[in-house]
Amino acid sequence: MTALCALLVRDLRLAVRVGGGALIGVLFFLIVVTLVPFAVGPDLALLARMGPAILWLGALLASLLALDRLLAIDHEDGSLDLILTARVPLELAVSVKALAHWLTTGLPLVVAAPLLGLLLNLDPKATGAVAVTLLAGTPALTFIGLVGAALTVALRRGGLLLAVLVLPLTVPVLIFGVAASNAAIVGPVPFGTPFSILCALTLISLIIGPVAAAIALRQGLA
């Protein structure tokens, strides 16, 4: 337990110090979402209808941005070798790394989403719905991305391959995230139905992600 806390604290510290890039994802999110009103034009009704989808797409792309740092940096400086020889199960160690990654890149997106909802003419109820679905859905993005990060860990400049690998796997999360937001705003489906499926997807990825990532890391070393 001490070991896992130490890993969490270290990764959080690294993220907020120089070169950690904790806020890059939020800035990217901000820019992507700000560009949309310029591209679509000042059609407020259209913006409000597209709003949840735009916020979700922006969050998806922003959470991809930092994924290649999740394990690759530890691989480059030799830390991953030591993590593999630790007495902590590798599955738990990568879970904690993914948790630290979500706290520094995913959670800020959830916090920024209501702010950006203003730019897209979303009313408070719609903004709240998007924020709640992002809170439930972004951990799934990180933990699915963890598998991709483990698969591409030994590749230099594996970032693009990582995006190509991970994006198709995030389609269900995107579908149910946007569906739940729209259900809360326009109906007719009750919010709970797609939202429960979104939560289920997150719970599944919380289990499968670390196990698959640990297998990929062990295979990659063979």
Binding site: L7, R13, G20, G78, T85
Partner: protein, 219 residues
């Protein structure tokens, strides 16, 4: 192939590798390598570049799977793999540039199950106690290696796997490392070191790799 250890008394710790073969990237690096290292003994792995010195150490640490053969650790905790009882000091020093010297060591001590109280003593032993608050990015290559060596002292593990441990150290640093290795051997530890030159340990066995070029066939 079992990396799990067999039972025995604590004084009987013995690391035995038999008939080991290693393949990296489709090329056979070595074959038929065998060694035995007992408690308080050191094994110096030598050989030309590409002979597989680093691969052998990674193999013992469990970071690479052997093509054939087995490595067994006799007389130790049955629940732990060899890698979990070994320190692996590779070419990279596993330091984070934005963390301070003390934070780097403190993290590994906590994560690898060491004693956080020993951190400062370990820093003093490698001569870095005055740099404890300096971010690791400002350290020279030799100082980085000293900090990596401090990890060996701050966390107690019976097996040391050292890959070119002295490569970036100055004369004083090499003497310091030799002293630490002697102390580790005196405490019934095991050392496997890959090196081109002598490491200053008397009575160390030598395992020379890459002497049979006819065996190094393409797969």
């Amino acid at each position: 192939m079992s990396l799990r250890a067999r039972a025995g008394g604590p004084q009987m710790m013995r690391l035995v590798g038999s008939d080991l073969a290693c393949v990296r990237g489709g090329r056979e690096v070595f074959r038929g390598v065998a060694f035995t290292v007992g408690a308080g003994e050191a094994l110096l792995v030598t050989g030309p570049n590409g002979a597989g010195k680093s691969s052998l150490l990674r193999l013992v640490a469990g970071l690479v799977q052997p093509q054939q053969g087995r490595i067994e650790l006799e007389g130790c905790d049955l629940e732990l793999t060899i890698g979990e009882q070994a320190h692996y000091l590779g070419h990279q020093d596993a330091l984070k540039p934005s963390l301070s010297v003390r934070e780097n060591l403190g993290f590994w001590a906590a994560f690898l199950g060491g004693d956080a109280q020993k951190g400062d003593a370990a820093l003093a032993a490698v001569g870095l106690n005055r740099l404890a608050h300096v971010p690791a990015i400002y350290l020279s290559a030799g100082q980085r290696r000293r900090l990596a060596v401090a990890r060996l002292i701050a966390i107690e593990r019976p097996i040391w796997l050292l890959d070119e441990p002295a490569s970036t150290l100055d004369g004083a640093g090499q003497a310091m490392l030799t002293e630490l290795m002697r102390a580790h051997l005196a405490g019934r530890g095991l050392i496997l070191a890959a090196s081109h030159g002598p490491i200053g340990l008397e009575g160390a066995q030598e395992l020379r790799l890459g002497q049979q070029p006819d065996q190094r066939t393409q797969l």
